[in-house]
Amino acid sequence: MADQTELLAKLKALSDDYAAQLPDKLAQIETHWEQLSKLDWDEQGFQLLHRMVHSLTGSGKTFGFPALSDAARNLEAFLKQIAESEAVPNEEQSKQIHSMISVLHQVAIKRDGAPVGVVAVAQEPHSELRSRRIFVVEDDEGFAASLKTHLGYFGYDVSVFHQLEEFRQAIAHSSEAVILMDVSFPEDSWGGVHVMQEVQAQREVPLPVIFLTSNDAFQSRLEAVRAGGIAYFNKSLNVSSLIDKLDDLTSIQPAAPYRVLIVDDSPALTEYYAAVLEQAGMTTFVVNDPLVVMSPLLEFSPDLILIDMYMPGCNGMELAKVIRQLDAFVSIPIVFLSAEKDLDKQLSAMDLGGDDFLTKPIQPQHLVSSVNSRIRRSLMLRSFMVRDSLTGLLNHTAIKDQLSREVARAKRQKSHSCFAMVDIDFFKKVNDTYGHPVGDRVIKSLSRLLKQRLRDNDSVGRYGGEEFAVILADTDGVAALKFLNVIREDFSRLLHQAEGTDFSVTFSCGVADVTDFADASELGEAADKALYQAKHAGRNQVALANKG
């Protein structure tokens, strides 16, 4: 048996190599897919794509990237389905492939044993900016200043260091920060890498570092990975792609607990199920009378429903059928609970809309794992259905569903809540002047700004083209107006880059308070009307809707 330390060192070196090559591999997949999606059905080209993805599936985990293997396996399965139909992917499928490829990018930074530093995000209502510390270490003063300005607009707290020694001292007293580190310095052409190796060696959890460089050679990438670099950024690239990366890094928040609605006529049993699931970290809502399930269903908005098969008044299968008739719950996982051992009956229950069948008495562990895995899968599928592929925001349907839920909640709790429509001014001119890719970047930058400024209970969606919808929970019209105006001003100060020139863009916004209107559709119309007023009054402003 060979020396363990030597073996581990060699494995680490191979894994570093692999990590350094990953960005290129992902870029190749992306480019290949882009070319492929423009052509007629090309079986060989498609097979090549399949093979490229397959290679990630089969290798990621071996080199310490288990999440990459998982994501690639999902994409592979999807590609296989398409290949079997031997037809050019339709628009929907193309979108999905595109978003699955971007998932690959996201998980490619999740490496085992080198945890990505998670920067804490303070949870204050409408805090001016969520403080996120960035250390920029860069000897080019102009470049550093421009980074500081841009990152500042997106809510990052940036400290700039022009010399390595300054940085060394500052980092010794700082517990967490994301570091943007230039690779080469006048005194040492690998100075940035060397100083990071030194700093990381003294830390239990490595700091997240993004290396900045004007040199894209493989060797530099490799050195960067060895110094704990989680990303590598070419200075000639657009700043907005750097911000994308930073957002990925700093927005890693614990997922919200899974929500389970339990419908069973026996209070003793429901209490037991609820206790088991809550112990596993889930949130539950119990209904003992199936006939009153509708309003908790809409308001609690569960991720999964557990239904007892035999209840007085309405049996489980009937209830499942009724729930499935609601558009919003067509795809929600439904699991039946019953003492029924007859397979035929179980199967017919599935036919009527159930996804699974748990036989009583149910082992607690079995209940938890069955519920867990069903929810995980369903949420993943749903994220492809409800997210806009360019911005990752909720899509039109999803934000409208969210609005109905929020209006129902606010009306019941007699609380305020605001709905705002945001529309970029003269967006067509941006597209016509600079081209669609630049237009897309503008859309992404606004979506990023909105996402960053909102609290967890708020929602933002892309309503269409250059139009966004925002829901501000527990916020009255006056506060919403003030809050949206701050965002509007910050957005108007952002400089967008295209063809070597900088330009700025503004938006107009209409906002309406739920207490002034009867229902979601009136609220939506009012916000739309206010948006029209804001446009009409000269754009770059926020208008509050008058009471309906």
């Binding site: 190599d17 090559q21 093979r51 397959h54 290798s59 985990k61 071996t62 080199f63 293997s69």
Partner: protein
């Protein structure tokens, strides 16, 4: 009783996987390994190397794993040399199909470099019956 496993012919087209498997099998497992990057290369080298066991990647450009297995079986000296497939597809139906065409077992990818050698040894020892 078969001899102790030592000589393994390993066929894999991807260089990075080749390297990590080489470490895993040589350093951890102490096996003697001959690495081939394609089915064609394996057919060329097998007579000289005389492996006791063949590890075959399933998805390779050109000649894939199952095709390579078919060609190997046509060589009289290697008609019964045990073959293990390595693949990222591990659906039961596929495993059954690989076994039907003569594979001893299937090792799923991505593999863990620290345990690959013991996985291989386990399959080898079980095959003695």
């Amino acid at each position: 009783m078969t001899d102790k496993l030592n000589r393994i012919l390993y066929v894999e087209d991807e260089p990075d996987i080749q390297m990590v498997a080489k470490l895993a099998l040589e350093m951890v497992g102490g096996f003697t390994l001959e690495v081939c990057s394609s089915g064609a290369e394996a057919l060329e080298k097998i007579a000289v190397f005389q492996p006791q066991l063949i590890l075959l990647d399933v998805m390779m450009p050109g000649m894939d794993g199952p095709t390579t297995l078919g060609k190997l079986r046509e060589l009289p000296s290697f008609a019964t040399t045990p073959v293990i497939f390595m693949t990222a597809k591990v659906q039961p139906s596929e495993v059954a199909e690989y076994k039907r065409i003569g594979a001893l077992d299937v090792i799923p990818k991505p593999f863990d470099p620290m345990t690959l050698a013991s996985q291989v040894t386990l399959v080898w020892e079980r095959s003695d019956g």
